[in-house]
Subunit: 110 residues, 2 copies
Amino acid sequence: MKEIAVLGECCPQLLAAPLDEDDAELLATGFKALADPVRLRLLSLIANAPDLTACSCDLEEPVGKSQPTVSHHLSVLADAGLITKEKVGRWVNCTLVPERMAGLREALAV
Amino acid sequence: MKEIAVLGECCPQLLAAPLDEDDAELLATGFKALADPVRLRLLSLIANAPDLTACSCDLEEPVGKSQPTVSHHLSVLADAGLITKEKVGRWVNCTLVPERMAGLREALAV
DNA sequence: TGCATGCATCGATAACTGTCGATACATTGA
DNA sequence: TCAATGTATCGACAGTTATCGATGCATGCA
């Protein structure tokens, strides 16, 4: 199993050369995290927050989902490397990882 | 329901502004199509074929899936606007739609 | 006309996923 | 130490999805 970090680094394998099975799996993991409207809105909220960072507690109301559901989606985003979560006191700060976004973005270059 | 074509056009709503529910749904539909390793490999094969076009019959063996499964995935890609399918004689030619790829790509710009 | 072939559809099944209420955990403040 | 609060986890349920064998449909070829 390749490291997710590989994708975050410079210009991964894109569609300019046939994907092998491992690369496809790796990319699919990333896109799977983007394949849900609630997660896209969460990402959008975080991306538009100061320092690309938002408190988890400020995200439930805008997306209109329950606390466990938002927590679940944030974990999916974190597992996919799209955000990082840092616990500070009672709250959890979520920060966008632009490099990972760029990595997935580059994968779509034709 | 917004038209998929909207996304294919120039520079859609990206993460630079909070996504509304409809935009999120629209983008998620696209990424959902990308969220499977088999489909990514199919896209990759098509993208690397001459004229961005490949015969459906040449795709089953490389991805190692059954004919119905490949047919299903190609339909998903076509429904998402990522490829077009044209029946020519007994075969079906699949062609990549670079504009749609670019549309989803731009959505990830930070 | 009849046969071979490439593709789509159907039916079935197993696996995954989004959602939420209930609950447990941890941290802060009184 | 105790109560309040922000998160994570658990259990459950409904809906979706990936997969394939069997079958049907249409086209080209002999």
